[in-house]
Assembly symmetry: C2
Homo-oligomer: 111 residues x 2
């Protein structure tokens, strides 16, 4: 089964905020933004249990923040930066410019 | 008992985003911003049950988004705009500039 992704026009600002409003998900977004490319899901926040991450991938995907691409048994993740910038101009830049955004989970996710 | 309010320095960006990432709470923030002054809690989103609102006041207060002032049996609410602007410059302006922010709950909260 292919995971469902909302079209850019379907994004809801409050859902995006709720998705970004969690230390682990904020950390994922910061790391994806830094990498700037599609990333194997196991490499992004390696200290977080897979079962916990499954929930976070869903919240991020359903709000439009990330795109998931399954390949065999692996899952690859991309930040939907273009779509987010088109819908909510400046939001991602503003959050990523905040030093604290996505850092609270660093102790948890460091290995 | 006086409700606890975080000092501006204690605000966590992810907590603020989570607080703003809900249709009713976004609606409250938009309305408080429009009114620009302390407002009786019963006047802000009059269609929402009081028991539901109690939860939302707490989430908004504990993240730093609003200030509550009890007066007798009434509760007065202010948006902590100065504190939010000081900690996360541009965030509130950006969200309020989005036409959709805080409008999703309008059908629910209209009386």
């Amino acid at each position: 089964m292919t995971a469902l992704h909302p079209a850019r026009e379907q994004f809801q600002l409050e859902e995006v905020l709720a998705a970004l409003g969690h230390p682990i998900r904020a950390s994922i977004v910061r790391k994806l933004s830094s990498s700037g490319k599609e990333t194997f899901c196991g490499e992004i926040v390696p200290g977080v249990p897979k079962s916990t991450l499954t929930h976070h991938w869903r919240v991020l995907r359903e709000s439009g923040v990330i795109r998931q691409r399954p390949s065999g048994r692996k899952l690859y993740i991309t930040l939907r930066r273009d779509d987010l910038d088109a819908r909510f101009p400046g939001l991602l830049d503003l959050l990523l410019s905040e030093e604290s955004f996505g850092r609270a989970a660093d102790q948890v996710t460091a290995v």
